[in-house]
């Protein structure tokens, strides 16, 4: 599983794997929680730029991290969702729990 973590000043960006399923969920959860605790992460960003597949096991991981961050007053957001991942967010209702940064092009003034 290819998953990278970038830390910067209490903010952690997780580059999500190509396929977010039950098979990678456990490792993702463990690594993320370890880093969130060790570096006192206040802001968590899930970056889906490289993700082509996600099922409900992935939803479980996101909700779990959301809850943990919520207890400590942190912020969670998701970025670079493909159309497919966006659909998964909407069907699961995740878009109401996590702020989704839209990729929409900036309107010219």
């Amino acid at each position: 599983m290819e998953c990278k973590y970038q830390l910067n000043n209490g903010c952690m960006r997780i580059s999500m794997p190509k396929e977010v399923d039950h098979h990678c969920a456990e490792q993702l959860r463990k690594e993320a929680d370890l880093l969130i605790g060790a570096y006192h992460v206040r802001r968590l960003i899930f970056d889906f730029a490289g993700t082509e597949f996600m099922d409900s096991s992935g939803i479980g991981v996101l909700i779990g991290r959301c809850k943990n961050m919520g207890y400590s007053g942190g912020e969670v957001s998701a970025e670079h969702l493909s159309e497919r991942i966006q659909k998964i967010f909407v069907v699961s209702g995740l878009h109401k729990m996590i702020r989704v940064e839209s990729d929409a092009q900036e309107e010219p003034n």
Binding site: E19, D21, H22, H23, A25, D55, S56, I63, I88, V91
Partner: protein, 153 residues
């Protein structure tokens, strides 16, 4: 046209990707849209994951996946001989999960329902579970054909 395939594999999480890709590859003969392929992959992944973590509870066992094509309809079954369910109706309620400690979202059945046309679950306690899902493939082609009207032969 009728065509059928069947695969059996160990209940290991590493096989979840194998299962969904295999079904998707078999379906390409119906010329599916990318969306249809993605829908089927998600549904297969849900059913296979359930067989592994709920049916066999992480232990050993075999999962059997089959796909039958009947015209432009695909019928996919995912079967395990695991613990089974006492109350299927309850299990299918959104957000219901018996494994919250594993951070399960309880949305597996809801996903299968959302992404397939039909879904049916047969389960018996101590015997196993069979999930049967159907989806019509090639909606794109139909639209194209309609658009053509009765053009020259």
């Amino acid at each position: 046209m009728k065509n059928e395939m069947q695969v059996e594999f160990d209940a290991k999480s590493v096989n979840e990707g194998f299962a969904r890709v295999t079904v998707a590859a078999f379906l390409t003969q119906l010329d599916p849209t990318l969306d249809e392929i993605a829908d089927v992959k998600t549904a297969v992944s849900e059913a296979v994951t359930n067989a592994i973590i709920h049916g066999y509870e992480g232990g050993e066992g075999k999962v059997c996946v089959s796909c039958r094509l009947n015209g432009n309809q695909a019928v996919i079954t995912v079967e395990d001989e695991g613990v089974g369910m006492e109350d299927v109706k309850k299990a299918m309620e959104p957000f219901y999960t018996t494994k919250p400690e594993l951070e399960r979202s309880g949305m597996g059945f809801a996903f299968m329902e959302a992404f397939m046309d039909e879904m049916q679950v047969e389960s018996a306690s101590g015997i196993g579970t069979k999930v049967i899902m159907t989806k019509k493939i090639g909606a794109k082609e139909e639209k194209d054909r309609d658009g053509c009207g009765d053009s020259a032969h």
